[in-house]
Amino acid sequence: MRKTYLAYLIVAALATLPWVVGGRYVFHVATMITIMIPLALSLNLMLKVGQLSLAQAAFMGIGAYGAVLLTMRLDFPPMLSVFAGGLLAAATAAICGPVFLRIKGVYFALLTFAFGQIVNLVFQEWTSLFGGNSGIYGIPKLSVFGMRFSTTQHYYLFGLVFCAVCYVALRLLERSEIGRIFQALKEDETLSRSLGSNALAWRVAAFVGSALIAGIAGGIYGFYIGFLSPDAFTFWLSVDLIVMNVVGGATSVLGPVLGAIFIVPLPEFLREARAFQLLIYGVVLIIFLVLIKDGLVTLFERRKPG
């Protein structure tokens, strides 16, 4: 277990790296990592109940558009909008979840895929509200207690805080009775239900929680980037999140964190060509699926026996 602390130490050291290296661009990449970590964790939460959700990008989009529009159209304070956007995504999950999660496994993955595509099409086609493919411009900056987030550093710090909150929350969840329930549902649902557990309700709860996290991350992204268009929230973002979980190791909460830290900066070395980014993602994914099945986290954690 001591090795886990080594991982924490490395992550903490990496978190301070942008100040060491400096530069606006480094802070930008670091901020993107702090936005992707909660998203990767939100997918991890669904994997904990044994379900692969391809709707995380859609929930991020709902949170982002929701938050930004609340501020731009209804004059909500930006910080309030971020959380309201998260709640909007969670509410969507709460409405869809009981239907989606009646069926499990492959069907759930396919349904969430279709859901994600439809949500994205709505962003594209409902131009009067979402601005269509040309998007939404002129998004104001975030502010907290009257302090305006004027530089990338501010967003980075805020992102770090949100990451830490998500990580600690999921760690506590994993160690609590709920973690035990999730593990039981994932391992043997028939047995768990014969012991009285309402599997559907628990899966919906996980889905709502994961949508909340993804939605808030979306809101932060919206105010940080200052421009929203549908292609930031496609199915391929959900795929990126899967890549992060597989590369980092989905069995642990630390896994997706490591995965995001590893994966997000990768395309920055190849910024010119989206095509080569995809190629590298694909190759990395296959390497991990075939050779390093439990992900980077195995470097730091002992495997449980059995």
Partner: protein, 284 residues
Amino acid sequence: MVYQMLMNGALAGLIYVIMALGFTMIFGIMRIVNFAHGEFYMIGAFVVLLLFGSLGLPFFAAVLAGGVAAAVLGMVLERLLFRRLVHDEMPGMIMSLAVAIILKSLGLITFGPAEHTVPRPFTGTWQAFGAVAPWDRTVVAICALIILAIFYLFLKHSRLGLAMKAVAQDPETASLMGVKSGQIYRAAFGVACLLAGLAGALMAPIYNVGPYMGEMPMLKAFVVVILGGLGSILGAVVGGLLLGLSEAFLSTLLSPLAALIASFAMVLIVVIVRPNGLLGRTAR
């Protein structure tokens, strides 16, 4: 008007059926959800773009080559990557995503992000019952029907087809009866990718050709397969035609987006009422 919509719906539906058949077959036999199915469609189209569009070979030869190229690639990938994950749903699904990303990126690298047009091999229209049908779409529909007929005969009468059906229905008994599963997996993947490649190749002159072209047919195949029941051949046929027709009516009467949302709503209703699809096997 109604005939027009019926005709459009049937044309679209036939392509959906071909896409969905391969997708559902891979799942039925290997329990792998192939997210790369749309990319095999793309490969078929790219081959037509090259052979017919650029080199000027006969259209049908190019279509056939497109199907074969997709099939060969499918069989190679099956052996290298998918065989080890048979019946392991989650990793199988993720592996197919990896393959989809790689094929799409190779498409992007080779052909660029822009869409290319393929010249139309058939032009003009014909009329019946007051409906106007363009010849190119009609030829696609006829080819689709021929492909479906051959596929049906293959499943019904060939040894390989019968063995594939046996494995899909009951893998254990089939293996007891001496069916070699490895061979069946290769065949299933090959045939499924052949179908997807042919569909993409046939559609190349009708829609534009580009690296993202596979996404919409794949989404449609998913919808069809959930409607009809994952793993059900008849379900894919019924679901595909149902989706094609309902889309044709709704997109004419309302809008294409409304049609898509309606088809999604249809899927949700099916999920609630019959979780295994309209024609899916009931779980025991």
